[in-house]
């Protein structure tokens, strides 16, 4: 590499680290707000967040950024760059163009709108009053249509939104994979509710001391390989994981006294996200590539650890005795098998975030189809409640009695997060596909889990996925690791096998 190029490269890295500094500071501020910041300080804290966010945005669209990008994109320069640097330039260009194509005054209006829309949504959800939320949602959708116009799109307008969360994902691909899922999972879910032998879940709903739940969660984090020198566990209303930097990846959970597994599975889920962020390769530190590659791949890790490991039979064969020691009275009449069946109960329900592993995918599919229709121009905002309810009847066999437990249940749309929902189901599909590859290469995974030996599993994931951070796209990772494109049949097979066994079908 030539000397001036190397100097420029270093200058660029420093510039990117400065942006990253704002990102990390903002991460700490958000974490703090959600884990116990006193309420009277919130107004001034918002001002701080606004100020720092503004500065970070300014840096990311500054003329200096454009100069860097133009320089490194020259073909004779580009070919001298390392792979890491090339991907950094590509990702920064993508972000830069996305940000610069929106007129700043329109973007500011949009930020104000979504902030109002979230507040109105909260109220509307409480009152089950879609009419109240409708004008705001219409504006949010209109803004997103306008942005898609400015950004451009290929194929379907919704593709541009999908790409923000899952680079490379398209309506064509999702139609295909969701089609396969629907074809198999809708009948499976129906068969279970018609002929299945439902597990007894009464043991789960007793009183379980919170301190002991915490003790069990902490123990489990240690078992799974979460690095406490590079993270901490706190409490918050909604569990989350936040990677401030790879040496500081925090998770939170929420202890419910009347539910023995909610906090535990929340912890394991966030642990999956955290293992990803804690194990990114050091040569990506301080760069924009030092994070998970997409929402879908991230979600594949939280769901892999939560569901495929944490809700598996060998896991509870190993850990049920430990749990029983903590709650000898409550679990007196339960054993590993009955507990395993109880925590895997599946039942059509109205609320996505309370859904089980099987029906969860159907909740997502509904949202995907509605969003696609909205941005394809086939559905108007005012028709959403009707369309929502019809799909719930079709896929899950139940219908919301009001919009609060229907179309108003999720926060995503009020904040403009269209295109995000598919990540959750993609995560499930990726996870099953990775598991298949892992079984091929590591052999008897169930035996490892049954012995509480998670290190080989974690190490495999680090080697195959985590260390790459954002250096490879989701598509590149899936192809390299599994030898094929995204394929929903692994998830289908996994769910068929697991649930037919549990429900004795």
């Amino acid at each position: 590499m030539s000397e001036p190029l190397e100097a420029k490269r270093q200058e660029f890295r420093i510039y990117l680290r400065k942006i990253r500094s704002y990102e990390e500071a903002l991460g700490v501020l958000y974490w703090d707000l959600r884990t116990g910041a006193p309420k009277k300080g919130a107004d001034m804290r918002s001002e701080v967040i606004g100020s720092l966010s503004g500065e970070m945005f300014r840096l990311s669209v500054a003329p200096q950024m454009e100069e860097f990008l133009n320089y490194f994109e020259q073909s004779e320069i580009r070919e001298q760059l390392s792979e890491v640097d090339r991907v950094i330039v590509r990702e920064c260009r993508k972000e830069f163009d996305r940000s610069r194509k929106i007129p700043p005054e329109r973007y500011e209006e949009y930020v104000v709108l979504t902030s109002q829309a979230e507040t109105v949504w909260e109220e509307a959800k409480k009152k089950s009053d879609f009419a109240m939320f409708k004008p705001y949602l219409e504006k949010v959708v209109a803004f997103n249509r306008e942005f898609i116009g400015l950004w451009g799109y290929e194929g379907h307008p919704y593709n541009t939104l999908l790409d923000m969360y899952e680079p490379g994902m398209t309506v064509d691909k999702l139609d295909r994979v969701f089609g396969e899922l629907r074809e198999k999972l809708v009948p499976l879910s129906a068969a279970i509710r018609e002929r299945g032998d439902a597990p007894d879940t009464s043991m789960l709903r007793q009183t379980f001391d919170k301190d002991r739940q915490k003790q069990f969660s902490l123990m489990m984090l240690g078992q799974l390989g979460y690095d406490f020198d590079a993270g901490r566990l706190d409490e918050s209303v909604h569990p989350f994981a936040t990677g401030l930097n790879p040496g500081d990846v925090r998770i939170t959970t929420r202890y419910l006294e009347n539910d023995v597994v909610s906090a535990l599975f929340g912890t394991i889920h966030e642990c999956g996200h955290a293992l990803y962020e804690q194990n990114i390769s050091t040569d990506l530190y301080g760069t924009p590539l030092c994070t998970g590659t997409s929402m879908g791949i991230h979600e594949s890790q939280s769901r892999f650890w939560e569901n495929m490991i944490g809700r598996s039979r060998p896991f509870w064969q190993r850990y049920f005795p430990d749990l029983k020691k903590l709650y000898p009275e409550q679990l007196a009449n339960a054993d590993a098998e009955s507990f395993y069946r109880a925590i895997n109960v599946t039942k059509p329900s109205l609320i996505r975030i309370e859904a089980d592993e099987l029906t969860y995918n159907l909740h997502i599919m509904i949202r995907y189809e509605l969003e696609k229709a909205l941005f394809g121009g086939e559905l108007a905002v005012e028709d959403l409640p009707r369309a929502w309810n019809a799909k719930y009847a079709e896929y899950l066999g139940i219908e919301p009695s009001n919009d609060g437990e229907g179309v108003l249940q999720d926060v995503h749309w009020s904040s403009g997060g269209f295109g995000y929902f598919p990540s959750y189901a993609l995560g499930n599909m990726y996870a099953a596909q990775f598991m298949q590859a892992m079984r091929r290469e590591l052999g008897d995974i169930d035996a490892l889990v049954g012995e509480g030996r998670f290190a080989p599993i974690k190490d495999w994931l680090v080697d195959k996925i985590y260390r790459y951070g954002k250096l490879q796209t989701p598509g590149e990772i899936v192809s390299r690791v599994t030898g094929e494109e995204l394929n929903p049949s692994y998830l289908i097979a996994y769910l068929e096998e697991k649930y037919r066994d549990i429900y004795k079908l």
Copy 2:
């Protein structure tokens, strides 16, 4: 006010709020580092802190700041400003000049030096090796002498350093007040150790469950009027208070299992700082005046609440029964009076931070005299250990057996904090002087404390001191509240009365 002036005024306020945003963000980052941030994230967190500090500094010395100041300092503009705005301009000018007079490259060298010096000091303290620390300390002192030359000084070079922590404080004033203190407190301390009836302190050194200590600390914060909606209590190695904004003033303490009062008095001490910051007038919010006016006045509040309230007889007449309920076995043979005497034991000791209320002032006086001599050119760094030990022998009647428990004990000098120490003793003097004024105006303070009625006391302090923030100088506050200048005789009278009673002299 004219329209363009009003527009400029608002523009300036926005500029200052932006600087404040960085300050608050940095406050959260420091709080986080000290209350449990995972250690592996520390390096990248330092980079974030460096980046944000740099940006904040840049804003505070930017040409735009100078333009604002030049504009508002024009006499026809200045006379249209409110008092608040005038003081803001005055304080910003002071800061601006102080920062601008140091060449940036010299300042950067200094920052690097003090960072190294702190690391070396830590090691040197452990090894009691002054020679190891000496070359660093010499450089830190030389830098401070150079800065004083650039800043200028009146009377004594050390005055410029004193003014940084206690605006308006001078060697002349301190010589006078410390002279009076020394004249009375050195003989009092000597008389106590020669003829005093020493309290039995064995009850304090048993095993005291930490959760119960925490419970007692939290209860006490509530009693004293600490607002938990505008703060929180955490744990850290060294207790501290941090006012992120008036709606978020956090405190920390440290629970020692073998000491029943250490955490409690740490909590009450920091609560005093926090009450000050929580109760600043809303019209100062978001301005540089929204903080305590000086280190000395701040320390007066922590010490007022910790010592004059928390270590008083009526306080323990009221709360000892509550404490005894938590530790019935350990305190079985104690009563309020014996406990009161035990927690007020005084004894010459070598370590400042472990010193009692009476001898603490002597520790400060020693440091003041040495700093004054260093910057007056009468003492060389290499002669510090000898001078230190001689003064301990003279004022406290004891001598360190090594430099680790002598001249190397405090962190302040390694980080260049010359001029800071006097604040602690000033705090004691101010506190006693305020107490005198409070007794004049509120009547029987002891009766209020004995009933646990702290609201009138807090309200008086809010009205007289807290709400002003930095709008008045320490000198202005003391004169307005007490009707006279700083006067050490109140502290002397308070200590004479308290300790002669306890030691039956």
